[in-house]
């Protein structure tokens, strides 16, 4: 069996943070943004990663592309541990893995024009002539739905949706194998969200891309993903094929997430009873012992505080980190 395209194994990312007003010599506290996360992404599939804001999705993505260091675990790219690579080897990976960011305007250098922005990965990884680069940039711009004669414009002259298209063009110009989309539509107007999602889905099909698609709710992810992973406070709590996860959510957190997706029909929407998620996300500086979800879990029991529940395969390709979800209770 060949190795999966990307496999994240027991990934830890801990940020050192200084408590407010601390002495300079006190040891910084550790903020566990990602804790022992496991993920597998097969070639050609779209893996959705959902979890509320602050659950560590962006940090996980950053650890994969290497802009934050992993403090533990491994990130395997085609069977090779990339966290062990030297900086030069790491930079080469930029050709194969690319990222689209949440804030479309902030992701574009305000002092560079569109042509320069989109061409940068080409200039970094190929030795094409300037003329060939321009031709490729033009093609790519058309492909993401931008008029190629806008190459000399600057980011501030574009709308959010157009900026995101520029970001997508930049990410795809070297024909990468994996595209990480970190909440690519959260910052956009609702009317353009669908356009950008459709564009991404189309490009994925045409270019044979694999995708890691991050979002804070399930509404977008369930349509575009083949598999979905649910993240809570730095931990992966459930992974399953998209259809199975939506039809048969097992972890209490996943159930709450699904319940929070509004039903388009207002009558049914008002009529249904939904288990609302109470309370706030605990601080990753001081996570609850045992199962981190227990402070908000509707079926929590005393045992939940003792040990961290492992991610167990309960059905084919359906893993859940809660031993008690099928023991009844007010769900």
């Amino acid at each position: 069996m060949t190795a999966p395209l990307l496999s994240v194994e027991g990934l830890d990312v801990t940020f050192p943070v200084m408590p407010r007003g601390a002495w300079p010599w006190t040891k910084p506290a550790g903020l566990q943004a990602v804790s022992k996360a496991d993920l597998v992404l097969q070639r050609g599939e779209t893996l959705g990663l959902v979890g509320e804001s602050g659950s560590g999705k962006s940090t996980l993505a950053r650890a994969v592309i290497g802009t934050v260091p992993a403090t533990g675990g491994r990130v395997m790219w085609k069977g090779r541990d990339v966290t062990a690579l030297d900086p030069a080897g790491r930079r080469k990976l930029g050709r194969e893995v690319q990222m689209v960011f949440q804030d479309p305007l902030a992701a574009l250098n305000p002092r560079m024009n569109v042509g320069q922005i989109v061409a940068e990965p080409l200039a970094t990884h190929t030795d094409l002539s300037a003329k060939e680069r321009r031709t490729r940039v033009g093609e790519m711009m058309e492909r993401v739905g931008l008029l190629p004669n806008l190459v000399n414009r600057y980011p501030h002259e574009f709308s959010g949706g157009q900026c995101q298209r520029i970001g997508i063009a930049r990410a795809l110009i070297t024909k990468p194998e994996l595209l990480i989309c970190d909440e690519p539509v959260s910052a956009l107007d609702v009317s353009v969200q669908a356009q950008v999602v459709n564009l991404l889905a189309g490009l994925q099909r045409d270019m044979g891309l694999s995708m890691l698609f991050i979002a804070h709710d399930l509404s977008v992810v369930r349509h575009i993903s083949t598999r979905i992973a649910v993240m809570y406070l730095g931990r992966i709590v459930e992974t399953a094929p998209a259809a199975a996860l939506v039809a048969d959510p097992r972890h209490p957190y996943t159930r709450a997430l699904i319940a929070s997706v509004p039903i388009p029909d207002p009558v049914r929407e008002r009529a249904r009873s939904r288990p609302v998620l109470e309370g706030e996300l605990p601080s990753p500086l001081n996570p609850p012992s045992g199962c981190v979800f227990r402070t908000r879990c509707p079926i929590a029991r005393p045992d939940c505080a003792t040990a961290r529940p492992p991610l167990v395969e309960e059905a084919p390709d359906h893993r859940v980190a809660c031993p008690y979800h099928d023991r009844g209770g007010p769900v």
Binding site: A106, R153, H156
Partner: protein, 304 residues
């Protein structure tokens, strides 16, 4: 390859120009009256410094023996004698000397600012970009250099190596970039967290290329404003050194040296010896301050 008529390189060559942030800033700058006035005054002063030697009837070292001894009466500013600004106490033409002093003062200011821009920007952005231990070590060097009383060092340099323009520039170059390095570092730290820098890192762009293409162009606004304000402070600094008698060496002169000479003779009824250089000094400084202010407003990203 698919055919792409729209995206042919030749077709793209005619694509319309975008409105860069620099173009925007330029437009805003030229709408600012005080800044434009400052620019005009500065252009006049620069023209004075450059063209002055060609139109001055006297040389800046030449002593007018006819004037010597009765400077208060014979050395007055007058059109007949050709001493348009009068003469100094030694009977040397003050117009020619002011031209010469303006050259030196502008040069001191501009060289100091240039050193600050080039050295300070690169040094600070490298420290801020790499962060951690590199940053710690590089900024400690700046702290140490700053904590040395620079006047003391400069005086030592001038005493040990003798007074020369070169030493003056060395002294100014040694200190002018320190503040700039700190400013560039602080701004770089902020830029490092921006997503476009992260995108470049994720793409695998080489760190030095990131600094040159992504960090420095975004620092430039702040750098230019600070550099414009640094020019007058370098001029003041040189004037102060000259005032102490340690600056440029006779017969060369500078605004500071001329003001010093003029002030020494103030009670002898030769006020023109003070007023002409002082006028240029004040006009020059105000011009730089107005330009710096205008640049700050023009480059400020807030009211875009």
């Amino acid at each position: 390859m698919r055919t792409a008529t729209l995206s042919d390189a030749s077709a793209l060559a005619t694509a319309p120009k975008g409105r860069s942030l620099w173009a925007d800033a330029r437009r805003r700058f030229f709408r600012n009256r005080a800044a434009v006035a400052g620019l005009v005054v500065l252009a006049l002063i620069a023209a004075f410094a450059l063209l002055g030697p060609w139109i001055a009837p006297w040389d800046y070292e030449e002593i007018d023996w006819a004037v010597l001894g009765s400077v208060e009466t014979m050395g007055r500013p007058s059109l007949e004698t050709g001493h348009w600004f009068g003469t100094d106490q030694l009977g040397r033409d003050l117009f020619a000397r002011t031209v010469q002093g303006t050259q030196i003062s502008l040069m001191v200011g501009i060289v100091g600012a240039l050193i600050a821009v080039v050295v300070g920007t690169l040094y600070g952005s490298v420290a801020g970009y790499f962060g951690g231990r590199v940053d710690g070590a590089m900024m400690r060097v700046v702290d140490v250099l700053m904590s040395i009383p620079y006047m003391f060092v400069l005086i030592l340099l001038l005493v040990v190596f003798g007074r020369s323009i070169l030493m003056l520039f060395v002294g100014i170059g040694l200190i002018s970039w320190l503040d700039m390095a700190r400013i560039a570092r602080g701004q770089t730290l902020a830029l490092r967290g921006k997503e476009f820098v992260e995108a470049a890192i994720a793409t695998g762009v080489h760190p030095f290329r990131i600094i040159l293409r992504h960090i420095v162009p975004n620092l430039l606004g702040v750098i230019i404003v600070y550099a414009t304000l640094l020019v007058p402070s370098m001029i003041i600094y040189e004037s102060f050194i000259s005032f102490l008698g340690l600056g440029v060496q006779e017969p060369l002169t500078s605004w500071g040296a001329l003001i010093n000479d003029g002030a020494a003779e103030m009670r002898n009824g030769t006020s023109w010896q003070l007023l002409f250089p002082l006028g240029f000094f004040v006009a020059g400084l105000f011009a730089f301050f107005f330009i710096g202010d205008g640049l700050r407003d023009a480059l400020d990203p807030k009211d875009r």
